[in-house]
Each structure stands twice: as C-alpha cells, then as structure tokens.
Symmetry: C2
Subunit: 173 residues, 2 copies
C-alpha cells in the first residue's frame, strides 16, 4: 500500500506510447507543478506556463514573486502534471506525472535558447519575457507515470520522454 501501485498495473511501454506522451507534453502550454515549501517541506501545487526544448526537456518561466520559485531554488525536486481533461469524467483523459529535478538557467546562451522556445509556445509572453524578476528553469525528467485513461497505466523512464527511436521498436521491453 505505502509505495504506490503494484508492478502488474502497468502495461508495456511501446513506441506508440512514447509518441503519445511526448506529444502530450510537447503540445501542452501549462502544467501543474508540485514543489516543496521551503522550511516546512509541505507540498505546494501551482500553475506554470510550459514549453519544451527540442529534445523534449520541459522548460518553465516563473516569477520571483511566485512561491514556487523560492521553493525550486531551495529544493530542486519537483513534479509536473501535464494533460488537461476534456468533457466527461476527468479521469478518463490522458495525463502524465513527471518527477523532475529543476535547474535554473543562468548561462546567457542557454537563456537565449530558452527564450526562443518559450516565445514560440507562448507568443503573449512577449509582454513579460524581459521582466528582471522572471527566470527560466529546465526541469530534467527523472521518471514518469502516464495514465492514458482507465486501465491504461505506464511507467516511463526519462529516456522514454526525451528520445524517440522509431527504428528500435519495442526492444526496450
């Protein structure tokens, strides 16, 4: 009970599943971020605008005025929930929970690349992209759990999210 779901709840991860998850993340423009409140360690759920680097690594752009920024600077462990429910039962819609390690982007060249990715996904962010209290964080995926709707559960590794090798078939399983 304590540690999550038994192994046999999960289905084999195929390339079709990898594509489905990468598309879900790549097309998402927002996510829920779980971070840790500094000091108390209480979990904190908040909304973030989302974009991805070319390799699929999630990228967020957040204000120092928001509690999650202080949280990630104090403890980089975090999690992203990606996927928005449509009509009907919200649990019938695909979503992926990704455990991540946050890294603030400080290198000028990397900031420039991040800025380009973020603006491509969020043209309206032009209004605040140059405000001095905002920062880019790269969220390095560690592992993920994809739920494609009732009875469709998958456990994914970082490589499943970041690299798609269409020639490889299902040999990883």
């Amino acid at each position: 009970m304590a540690g999550g779901a038994p192994k046999d709840v999960f289905q084999p991860v195929t390339d079709a599943v990898r594509t489905e998850v990468r598309t879900l993340i790549g097309e998402a423009r927002h996510a829920a971020l779980a971070s840790l409140q500094p000091g108390s360690g209480h979990p904190l759920a908040s909304r973030v605008g989302l974009a991805c680097f070319a390799d699929g690594t999630p990228l967020i752009f957040i204000s120092a005025l928001a509690a999650h920024t202080g949280a990630l600077l104090a403890d980089p462990r975090c999690s992203l929930l990606v996927g928005t429910p449509g009509k009907g039962d919200p649990l019938a819609h695909a979503r992926v929970s990704i455990l991540c390690q946050a890294e603030v982007i400080t290198d000028a060249q990397e900031i420039s690349a991040a800025r380009k990715c973020y603006l491509a996904a969020h043209p309206k962010a032009q209004l605040y992209i140059d405000l001095p209290d905002f920062r880019f964080f790269r969220l390095r995926p560690l592992e993920a759990s994809f739920n494609g709707g009732f009875g469709r559960g998958f456990r994914l590794e970082a490589a499943d999210l970041l690299k798609l090798e269409p020639d490889q078939g299902d040999r990883r399983n």
Copy 2:
C-alpha cells in the same frame, strides 16, 4: 527570495474575492494534487477527481492503485491546484493553490455523505464508486493562495474558503 512572495504583492481579501474562490473550487470537477512520495519525500503531481462537502471542504475519491493514495496515507500533507485555463495565456486565468491536510474517511455515515457529494458532482463515477480499492479523503484546507490573473494575488485563510459570512463585509481585513 526563499519563502515566497513579499507581503505587498497581495491584495486585500474581500467578500467578492471569497465568493470568487469558493465558486472556483465548488464548480471544479478535477484538480492537481501535490503529495509526497513515501520514503524519498519527492513531490508528486497527479490528477484527482474533485467534489466538495456542503461547507466547501474538498473531497477526493482515489484508488489504492494510484501512487498518490500511498503518499497521502504515509504523509497527509498535500496541496490542491484548482482552476483550468481557457484560451490565451494560461497564466491569465484564475487558479487557487490550497495547502491541505488529508484525512481518509472511514466512518460509515461519513462515507455515505461523501458518496452522495461525489456522485452529485461526478455522475459517471457510479461506474467505480463501489470498487473496494477506492477511498474518500477529506482535504482540510490550511491556507491558500488565489491568483485571479496577472496582478490579482490574494492570500487566504481556511475560513475564507469554508465559511462565507455575507454580513461581515471586509472587517476581517
């Protein structure tokens, strides 16, 4: 930087704001839950179906097969993010982050009340409401942060979410 936003970012909480937040939570049918992975303490973001008791206390109904159930049983500290973005910049849309304490509901009479509330919000949950591995958790609000769109930030106490006293005006501030 470490502890979140400075005080003066937040605006005074009026009854109109309380009503706005209570309506946002009361009408929501899903939320993002931030919980703590047992053992590692890594934050975990996941989707939950949401309903509310009559006093506004959030209620979730979750499967033992899902990682968040083990997480809440091991450590009841959690957070809910409520509010779904519409079109345009996802950060322009209202959302509330609630810090909560989870309590599994075990009393037969309370289960019956929870069942009624949950089914009223989620008629399709009839399909799985009686499965033995699902449980109801009451999420007692501790405090909340409401973001009504750019420049509209509010810090709320539990009483702001749970009890609306229309006669009281803004005397609390």
